[in-house]
């Protein structure tokens, strides 16, 4: 049983805050992925949980017990390193058995347990080899075996798949997920690979510049990103983010920019008929924001039928097209911005052609231009400005 709690943890290196006031609660049996670009502090956070780096501030708790001052060896956690850190002078069997040897277990017990673990990971034939005689995938499994052998409360993994080739990475991803299901232990897993995060995690914590941007299930993080950073980090290509202004027109809210006029499906039609309140007839409040639309939520409508569809449009020109086999991605210029559109092949894009793209209102996202946080609409007659900035609960 291991529940890992991180309370307001900060790690400073000189003036730099590698991790800045992060709080997380990882329930027993959770698979938490710490996701973020390189330098976001995810590895430092993991190392603070492991006890390899002392936090400058804050507390780390395992099962409610404060372990901030406890040395790594007494935390009952196992860790898989990015480099695997297999002891080069020891055989596979002794590498796997190392954690038991430190606990002064008897030789017979150790070899029995090592054989058991080797069986799970299909390493039986390699037990007498040394790490340098193993392939990358085999080394990775030995590192996993060393973590498994003593049945720790939780597993910490620091980009364990980053040194494997694409095919092996996919296979190992599945193996680790299965292992998590089988063991039912807590996993904290660091990666910069969003595919790993989306496929393996039960919850994802997105970090940026040492701060926590969002914590949620993979679905939540992808479908309702709490900040423009999360929106722009997840997805391939990521969410299109356009500077726009939110305008109330006939009581409905629209996001408007050069080449962009998208109804947001928000607002109160009852407010209709108060034109000119803020100047222009028919248009009321203006609020700068960032409009976000996922590439797969944009669809193409031929420019010819333009006139018949007054709503929901982005107008632009196709600049390049990428063929991904099953799908294609068209990069279009809309006003001053680049917009990616993802569609099944053949989608009918032609380079240089003018296109009209549509999006359904429920697939639009709004973010604050200053803070980057997600904007959520709260209907309220007294406040005509749609500025309710509700921080998404984590």
């Amino acid at each position: 049983m291991s529940r890992i709690t991180v309370e307001n943890v900060t790690r400073r290196y000189g003036d730099v805050r590698a991790v800045d006031g992060v709080s997380l609660d990882v329930a027993h049996g959770d698979f938490l992925v710490l996701l973020g670009p390189s330098g976001c502090g995810k590895s430092t956070l993991l190392r603070m949980i492991a006890g390899l780096v002392p936090p400058s501030d804050g507390r780390v708790l395992v099962d409610g017990r404060d372990v901030t001052e406890t040395p790594a060896r007494d935390r009952d956690l196992a860790m898989v390193f990015q480099s695997y850190a297999l002891y080069p002078h020891l055989t596979v069997a002794r590498n796997i058995g190392f954690p038991l040897r430190t606990r002064r277990q008897r030789r017979a017990e150790i070899s029995a347990r090592v054989a058991e673990v080797a069986d799970i990971l299909d390493l039986g034939k390699l037990l007498d080899r040394r790490p340098r005689e193993l392939s990358g995938g085999q080394r990775q499994r030995v590192a996993l075996g060393r973590a498994l052998v003593r049945d720790p409360g939780a597993f910490l993994m620091d980009e364990p798949l980053s040194n494997l080739d694409a095919q092996l990475r996919t296979a190992t991803r599945t193996e680790i997920t299965e292992l998590h299901h089988r063991l039912g232990r807590t996993f904290v897993y660091v990666t910069h690979d969003q595919v790993e995060a989306m496929t393996m995690a039960t919850s994802v914590a997105v970090l940026n510049h040492g701060r926590l941007e969002q914590v949620g299930t993979p679905t939540e993080v992808y479908d309702t990103p709490a900040s423009a950073f999360v929106a722009g980090f997840l997805g391939s290509p990521p969410m299109n983010l356009l500077d726009a202004e939110v305008v109330a027109r006939d009581g409905r809210l629209h996001a408007v920019a050069a080449g962009v006029d998208v109804p947001l499906g928000l607002g109160d039609p009852g407010q209709q008929g108060e034109p000119g309140k803020q100047g222009e007839p028919g248009e009321q409040v203006r609020r700068p924001a960032v409009l976000g639309i996922r590439p797969e939520h944009l669809s193409l409508r031929p420019a010819a039928s333009d006139g018949a569809a007054p709503e929901a449009t982005l107008r632009g020109t196709v600049r390049t097209i990428e063929n991904l086999g099953s799908e294609e991605i068209a990069h279009c210029r809309v006003g001053a911005a680049e917009v990616a559109v993802r569609a099944r092949r053949p989608a009918g894009f032609t380079v240089g052609e003018a296109v009209v793209l549509t999006v359904r209102p429920e697939h639009t996202h709004l973010f604050d231009r200053e803070s980057g946080r997600r904007l959520v609409w709260r209907p309220d007659r007294d406040a005509p400005i749609p500025a309710a900035r509700v921080p998404v609960a984590t």
């Binding site: 060896r73 196992a78 480099s83 002891y87 080069p88 190392f98 040897r101 430190t102 060393r146």
Partner: protein, 325 residues
């Protein structure tokens, strides 16, 4: 329904490349050969200066030494060298000095090992705890004696170890006459050499420790290892190439060679040969007794002897050391 399946042809180049016709142009072939030869010679040209130096300063003297070992000659340019066959070798092995000097060299090696292995490892492990500038300061402090010229340090130590007024005897209350008693003289020479090389060995060990990936110690600490277990099971085995290098240096360099300036300036091999090691014996035979033949024979014997020792040590180290790759 009529028709048939046709296989899709594998990709081919649209226009076949025609091999250039073999023209019987001898001039061109010769030029091509010359160019290829020229290109082959270039790397060896780069090697020439280094090889030249090696031949002039190492291999030619070696061959000459081997040659002189079969002659009787007193180093005087006016005196001819007379061939004596294996006489010099016979004399060398019947004289008692050779065995004694080898034995004393061995004692010096044993006496130096604490300075070149034990203390540097302990200091290296402890100084890892010191961070930043303080650590460089400590290392510089330990390295400093290595920069003192041996003759200068000999003068200082002669003073420190002087029987009546020396600081060492006054501090310990003893009345040992350090450079005029057999064992104290050997201990003094070994100790001063140790003091000299200690800084070097500490720096080598520090470099060796720094080259060990810190992931291992971190992984081991998460695996539950105590500090002592990490040192014993990981750090020391991974440091083994460095330690073997230091053992080799002690055997081949520090004990026989680096003791020389101290022996020469402090004891001149005495008292009663108590500090004469193999190199000092060589020097005595050749430069003091003007017996070039005997000195050359001793040189050849030591060359072969140390060569064998080095080969054995390397053979052992290949089996013992762990290379982290």
């Amino acid at each position: 329904m009529s028709g048939m399946f046709v296989e899709v042809a594998p990709p081919t180049l649209p226009v076949p490349i025609v091999a250039p016709a073999a023209v019987g142009d001898r001039g061109r072939t010769a030029r091509r050969l010359a160019r290829r030869l020229g290109r082959g010679v270039v790397p060896y040209l780069y090697l020439v200066p280094a090889l030249g130096m090696l031949i002039v300063w190492t291999y030619r003297p070696l061959v000459e030494t081997a040659n002189y070992s079969f002659y009787s000659w007193n180093l005087s340019p006016t005196q001819p060298a007379t061939p004596v066959g294996w006489d010099n070798y016979h004399r060398l092995f019947t004289l008692p000095e050779l065995g004694g000097s080898v034995w004393r060299t061995l004692l010096m090696i044993i006496g130096l090992l604490p300075f070149t292995i034990v203390i540097p490892v302990v200091v290296g492990l402890l100084s890892r705890e010191v961070r930043g500038r303080a650590r460089s300061f400590y290392q510089a402090l330990i390295f400093l004696p290595f920069l003192v010229a041996p003759v200068a340090s000999a003068a200082v130590w002669q003073w420190l170890l002087s029987p009546r007024s020396g600081a060492v005897n006054r501090a310990t209350g003893s009345s040992v006459n350090w450079f005029h008693e057999r064992w104290p003289a050997l201990i003094a020479i070994t100790g001063i050499t140790g003091w000299h090389v200690l800084g070097f060995a500490v720096v080598v060990v520090a470099a060796g420790l720094a080259s060990i990936n810190s992931d291992y110690a971190e992984a081991a600490s998460v695996d539950g290892a105590s500090r002592w277990q990490i040192t014993r099971w990981l750090t020391l085995p991974l440091l083994s190439p460095t330690l073997v290098f230091l053992v080799l240096s002690t055997v081949l360099l520090f004990a026989p060679q680096w003791t020389f300036p101290l022996i020469d300036s402090l004891t001149q091999g005495g008292p009663v040969d108590a500090t004469t090691n193999v190199y000092y014996l060589l020097w005595e035979y050749g430069i003091q007794s003007f017996d070039a033949g005997l000195a050359s024979a001793a040189g050849v014997v030591f060359f072969i002897g140390f060569g064998l020792v080095a080969a054995v040590l390397l053979w052992i180290s290949e089996r013992v050391t762990i290379h982290d790759d």
